[in-house]
Symmetry: C2
Amino acid sequence: METLPPNLARRRLLAGSAGALAAVGLGATGAVCATDAVANTTATKAAPAAKPLPAYAAWKDADSVIVHSANTIETKRSAFGDGVITPSRQLYVRNNLPPPAASVLDDRDAWTIEIVGVEQPRTLTVGDLKALGVETLATVLQCSGNGRGFFPHKPSGTPWEVGAAGCVMWSGISVRTLVEYLGGLKGKPVYMTGTGGEVLPEGLDPMSLLVERSVPREAMQDAMLAWEMNNEPLSLAHGGPLRLIVPGYTGVNNVKYIKRLAFTDEQSRAKIQQTGYRLTPMGAKSSPDQPSVWAMEPKSWITAPGTDGQALKAGRAVVRGVAFGGMHAVKRVEVSIDGGKTWKEASLIGPDLGKYAWRQFALPIDLPAGQHTLVSRVEDTAGNVQVEKRFENVRGYINSSWQDHGLAVNVS
Amino acid sequence: METLPPNLARRRLLAGSAGALAAVGLGATGAVCATDAVANTTATKAAPAAKPLPAYAAWKDADSVIVHSANTIETKRSAFGDGVITPSRQLYVRNNLPPPAASVLDDRDAWTIEIVGVEQPRTLTVGDLKALGVETLATVLQCSGNGRGFFPHKPSGTPWEVGAAGCVMWSGISVRTLVEYLGGLKGKPVYMTGTGGEVLPEGLDPMSLLVERSVPREAMQDAMLAWEMNNEPLSLAHGGPLRLIVPGYTGVNNVKYIKRLAFTDEQSRAKIQQTGYRLTPMGAKSSPDQPSVWAMEPKSWITAPGTDGQALKAGRAVVRGVAFGGMHAVKRVEVSIDGGKTWKEASLIGPDLGKYAWRQFALPIDLPAGQHTLVSRVEDTAGNVQVEKRFENVRGYINSSWQDHGLAVNVS
């Protein structure tokens, strides 16, 4: 949990288990802590004990998800389905802080956002934004720590495997349209900085908790302020009434409950930006000179068959999965049933929702009896190939290793 | 209700109101009757009284739909949202017969379908189909009678306005792949005929009730047997475990609970094919020599602003809507705010999901105070333009009139 001062994290861990903290309710610091406690106690291959869905995400499909904590809910690998858009009820949840009160959804159009760093800075309501324009965009939404569960050093943080990711559609107004409406950018800012509207607990340095992320200004070209996800008003669990969508960038950069969008010369001073979400080499301490966790890399994984834990029968089968390029479109996907010794090119199927979406792939094969490891490897249109091995880093971010994401199956 | 013999319809109408029939449960004939009774009592502009969702569709979003009867549920015009895919919870329902028992979903992969009219006719399970291939396809699903509520002669049948339609994604196996696997077509059949697996009530001529539809053989080129809708296992309400999808054809041709797929020289002998779903001229009786209700036509309607019944404020607004070509892709959409006197071209927005999907359109405008009628008109890539006036026919099918679909708004 990147926003939590180390001493506070330690104190909470001493105070009780994640379960006990969840039981006393979702006070801000309690919920923040729960994430860390889970990370430190269950970062193994063992299935987490089934926990109830938290109230703000009670509408999720309990059978499709793994509840790690009140703020971290993972999609099961077997629940991605054969289609391209992840249904909202199956989509993962990862909140850095507890969401604002549900009452912020009572009058969605009244939610305000301040825009600064433009020629005509203004505070606008969601209702105002809706009168300016509308776009729809499909993106892969993936937690920075997706795949963390495969790091052998058990980094702190939720031990996600494949399921802190989904492909969803957003509707809202493009940041470009908004900036044009406000007279264009003022000067030549280096960053686009979004500030979340979570309620911060009293008595702590706000900068230690504030969810405020800066991304390179160029990211504004395809960015959006979204009021709908998958064609429904954006839920509280996913950042409603309004969320900043930064296509190609990891989840944390897609700031929820966005209250302020600034074009700035410096990165945010918030801890989540300064030392949080950095690719810190093993043995080092997080610091602002290390790369920030921004753009996603080419990645793919297999979603069927055999992900439901059932033994497979030898014979014809169709290996299916999802693949994305991060910042570029998918060019091709290869599949191996022998752990990467030999490869065959899969077909890309289904509608192409644009370069920031994932593609479905499928390969009909004859599956022989025995133990096999199914793996997939994607190449993007810029020639980047999914890496074989993860980049080791302290917090276990951006694990795109095809080897780590292999699926062991038992065929009889 | 096309499957019901006229004398039976009359008898049921004498037996009680739709509400009374619904109250005694969803026995096959009771539910069949409910549809007709509703059609004959509420085919007006008046909002139907709020009815509860039937058990098999209890998971629908009650706020987004109008329950006409247990077998006919409409999406509100204000509930289409700003995105392109209609969420399953908002999608309309129209069943010709009550669905099979929910237990057919207990083991989805065990559901069987018989394929005949191919070189190697076989009965296959859904599990077998999943081992052959997978595709994903977006289509407009639209009831043949969508827009019936605008016919002034109040045809029998549900008085749908715009909401017996949606754009959804299907995953399954393409009929072409399946036919190739079975050695190809036998001879040169003229039709593809799908048979539904509903349980028929005893004591009646099965041909008077059987849901069996024939479409021209060419439709098989893009057809699919689908086991998922919107990336979730296909629900009972929408035809699960397996449904025939015939892209570009009205809903009834997309046979639910499909048990048999035949390539035939003749059209089905079922009443639903022979005299049901025919474009019968006013004053005539339904007969097999009249055009069958098959392909959809270019059609569009406005979904915002002002569809929620609230008064609008003068000033900048974005007119939004959906448009489709039926058998061809959308080329362009025009919008008028003066009931069709003057037109402006709207922008097509969002991902293009293929020629059988609908497109979203948007036009930012300055909305003056006063009473206005907002209308839209689509042209497809083959040069077909949405018709101004409906084609009058006894049962009120295929209403694509842009005039009928206008939206009156009050701007202050």
